[in-house]
Symmetry: C2
Amino acid sequence: MKNIKAFCFDVFGTVVDWRTGVAFETEKLFARHGLSQLDPYEFADTWRKLYQPAMEACRSGQRPFTRLDVLHRENLEAALAHYKVNPAAIPPAELAHLNSAWHRLDPWPDVIQGLTRLKQRYIIAPASNGNIALITNMAKRAHIPWDLVLGAEVTQAYKPAPQAYTRMAEILGVEPAAICMVAAHNSDLHAARNCGLSTAFVPRRTEHGSVQTTDLEPSTTWDIIALDFNDLADQAGCWA
Amino acid sequence: MKNIKAFCFDVFGTVVDWRTGVAFETEKLFARHGLSQLDPYEFADTWRKLYQPAMEACRSGQRPFTRLDVLHRENLEAALAHYKVNPAAIPPAELAHLNSAWHRLDPWPDVIQGLTRLKQRYIIAPASNGNIALITNMAKRAHIPWDLVLGAEVTQAYKPAPQAYTRMAEILGVEPAAICMVAAHNSDLHAARNCGLSTAFVPRRTEHGSVQTTDLEPSTTWDIIALDFNDLADQAGCWA
């Protein structure tokens, strides 16, 4: 622990509750357009499911690196089409506003206090696939006290590509092990550990709703296993 | 003013007093190596004078984009050689430590309060030629409350190249005019204005010591002319 210089955080799911936030804004749009028969949570899941394939096109080199705001917008139109809703029937300003729901997500209740404590002794930064504007707008709205914004747009690589992790160490000018990757997703931590980063698992057991079956527990002995961000700050020796 | 979303700041000279900080650390190294006959302020000026030509090699495409820490190190060795000091005669750890003096510069007295006030209503970010680690370490040490770190390593362009300004707007997802570039250097503001950014001049009349002759006054009618960062916050409507 004493060699850690920076804690870098997965954001969607680990820092913020994307499903509730996206469903909340989707429900309002659906109500305005006579689509109240559609389940906004199911819609959020459908929209989110298109996330990995869209990034994979960039990771594989099939298309150049593209900001998540752009991928989200393409995926929004595809998700609407999946439910037989014609995106062209919705005013562009409303589609743009719903697309930016990802900029307006709320953190889990322990986040602000835990990060504020960690920030006293460590560099804290998002290591997200979200683009800089998205993460910055989210932080300003919710008062998330990042020291700086790292992530896909800075490293020009989408997790779990190794460069998404190794370039953070290069950029911060530290050894990979001096960065502790924090995530609620075991797969993110596996990829980080393969690149030599330290790892911390914080479960978010309702990220996918009350029936969640994945990432309920750590899949291996991560360097830190914490109950939430306050417990992480406790374990990192950052007292309130 | 009401359309401004972000204030982006030149750092060396505008936010921090690089000359005093670099001279202070240089003086200690000189004393340890029997070089007290050399003037550390003059040395700081010599070191700094190599900054623009080094970046120009990157701007012109003569060499690929290179982090400022690397350019600073090359320039440190060249500056020592200029004073007939053999860099190889100084332990590498001491050279590395002096090179990182740029990470340990103190802000002018009005900076922290002014930025803290501006941050309540605006995104605040450095728009520096300094690399991310340099700017982050400086901010952690001096408690400079940036929302995020922008600048050369994010835009992959050194000011005053137009991309150094236009890409900030692109990255933040706003019109160029929604970004107000803040600098103590008229040339930086001219380049920013040519790219459509808003501009604010804050004089730093002792950046180059008490005999400074440049940038004592605004060279034209910038959008904002402020006495210091607190006056800038006043003019931006951010009350203490």
